[in-house]
Symmetry: C3
Subunit: 308 residues, 3 copies
């Protein structure tokens, strides 16, 4: 049995057994709390702190709900208001929070590697959970995507997964690849404008293409990424309409995928840019299941890290 | 018996029996929690989300206290920080929150009709509570004003109620008229500069005047509205001093009202503009009773909407 | 026995017995909650409101943790969002909060005397706790500093305490002097650039100097204050390097102090400006003990003020 985790900063190198254990635990917690309508006392008396240096109400709320449904207290450390703005070193902020006897710090930061920096400097028993760092990792997103796929298609080795959009700058894509590779997925295809694809050497196991029609062909899962509008300039595309024509998922393109292809998106959606309404709201969309699973996966992670 | 409410977006067309039931429940909850010094477990394990697109610490705090005193968890979804700022559609925000299994969404938005839009798109069992939309409705304010009046003057059919100020742009005034009309109030008088009065056709049951001295004559209740200073330009009045001379409630004017006339204001006060200190702090002021009743009324609404 | 406190706005004129009782209570609560890993129900059902007009995530979080570990609910009244911004009088904000039946208001404000103003206007049983007002007082900081010193050196009458930095504008320094004087400390030395020292008449019991080498000589405690960078202009010092050379605590200077001299700082640290890394992170640093004691002292204050 793989050892209990103390921190979760990335899914890279995490063995399949550890990932499966977290997904199993997510399902067990979902059932125990009756889909979020009942509170547990697994983490009663423990305190989780949200330390968000980048705005993300969606992810912060998901973590806050997860912690509260386990009976923990939650503190939102509003960083726009904080002494880090006054120039305090990150590790001084960390040590201050540790001295206050917090149990877990959920951190989001635009600088890649910040969660590892916190782990490196942590002195006490505090656990660090990465809620997204730079372009590098967003491990709970990788887990919730793996869980969503597993609920429909547990035969990972047979699956073709297409990830489309700005993969180069996407921590979601990276954590998805880590999770899916560990789960033994059959094939991962990357698709997007050349300027938004990662270096070929970063993911030798993935197939790269700029042609969405071929990338979606026979896919069992399509993960559409949000286009940051300021990235458009880096591409050859003149505007959002052109982006949608080349890389947007509409019903016509979805028909090229395998029957029952799961449509996924980490949100928030740019409707009409990377995804058409007919697909986002269609029968194959798993987008809201992803959101629901996000809470259960975060419960599982907090329960695993903070178990005594 | 009128059916249990699932949402509260407006008091318009709400029958007197439904309003009375909410007011009775507010009083019962006030007594059960010993005026807010004891917590109940009516909503233990439920989660209420505050979704405020307009700032209002006062109303948000009142809802937060109401939810907590019923034992619910509260999440503040700080919208300045949210993906709606990034251009997410409102119904996508709603569906995301529903997927996280929230029980109620308390919403304030500057666009009239936003709460109804949420109700129209709601897919799950979530309840929507309007905490103020545009110029249209602020139903818990209407309820707390009705409760405050009822505690002193339950004989609504005998009452003359004067509402003074910027009625045209006031959701408070509209919800007050809805509540008071349902309760069978004798007479409602509107008073303010012509530019700040609503169309005559909107409230045919009310008497309109620009002359405060006649409007206050014999009134049993005076509801003074906050003047948004940027509205002054629309009137013929040169400055705040002139506004106060024409539409401010001072002791001299209050003496023209009926004996024991109740003085009310939704807050925050512009002292010296729409109300004189001597009146705001005088024996007939019910302003702080309104604040206290606000918490109890919101408890009643949440308990009604979320009862299983 | 000194009477129970209802408010805590300053330590000035607080007798030693009252301070000792709070420190004893802090230690008792620390032990009762097992250093913050277990929640108590001392204040179950009570509500504490954080009313911060100045940003301070650190102090706000410490108060929030203290209140929650005693079982209280906490409301953060985000003042950037509040009607005070709309021009509501401070006492109207207070009365509104009182009408909502809050038990305690923790207030920080840049205007000296604001907590006393709240106490003067309080009508109900609400307790006011000063979390820092202007340059005047920060009583829980004074208490936590006294507790930190007492844990190592309970023989206050023998101690030489050196406070170094911008004392003139420091509420921390003032509350430290109040606490230490009440505890009967042997000698207090003030050190800093002339422009940042208070009037000589304000603290006749203290020794003033601009020479840090002599101020630190034989000191048992060194309290280093944060330099607000905008204060540099008031001094003769050209830059931060010059400040550090004159008033920074490094190993060389610490060697002039008494053996085992306690190194303290209220945080956040300006490393390399008022304190060297080797000292901040050295064996004599009590800085993180101060942070930990801050939570326990605030628990003691809230428990004392809100006890029934």
């Amino acid at each position: 049995m793989s050892p209990r985790l103390r921190h979760l900063t990335t899914l890279e190198h995490l063995p399949r057994a550890s990932i499966e254990r977290l997904l199993d635990r997510a399902i067990a917690l979902r059932d125990a709390c009756a889909h979020g309508t009942r509170k547990l006392d697994t983490l009663a008396g423990r305190t989780v702190l949200n330390l968000f240096f980048e705005p993300s109400t969606r992810t912060r709320t998901s973590f806050e709900l997860a912690a509260r449904r386990l009976g923990a207290d939650v503190i939102n450390f509003d960083i726009g208001f904080s002494s880090t703005a006054k120039g305090e070193a990150l590790y001084d902020t960390l040590h201050t929070l540790e001295a206050m006897h917090l149990d877990a710090i959920v951190v989001r930061h635009k600088v890649s590697g910040t969660p590892e920096e916190l782990v490196r400097h942590a002195m006490s028993g505090v656990s660090v959970v990465n809620a997204g760092d730079g372009n590098r990792a967003h491990p709970t997103q990788g887990l919730l995507d793996a869980l969503t796929i597993r609920q429909h298609r547990p035969d990972f080795e047979n699956l073709v997964v297409t990830i489309c959009g700005d993969i180069r700058h996407s921590r979601v894509a990276r954590s998805d690849v880590h999770a899916l590779s560990a789960m033994g997925v059959g094939e991962i295809r990357f698709c997007g404008p050349a300027a938004l694809l990662p270096e070929a050497s970063e993911f030798p196991q993935c197939r790269y293409t700029e042609d969405f029609d071929s990338a979606i062909e026979g896919a069992d899962v399509a993960i559409m990424l949000r286009l940051q509008k300021e990235r458009m300039a880096a591409t050859d595309l003149p505007d959002e309409g052109a982006y949608f024509r080349h890389y947007g998922l509409d019903a016509r393109r979805l028909a090229r995928a395998a029957k029952g292809c799961l449509v996924m998106h980490p949100g928030p959606l740019n409707r009409g840019i990377e995804i058409a309404n007919e697909v986002a709201d269609g029968a194959q969309s798993r987008i809201l299941e992803q959101v629901a699973n996000g809470v259960f996966v975060r419960m599982a992670v907090l329960a695993e890290l903070l178990a005594r």
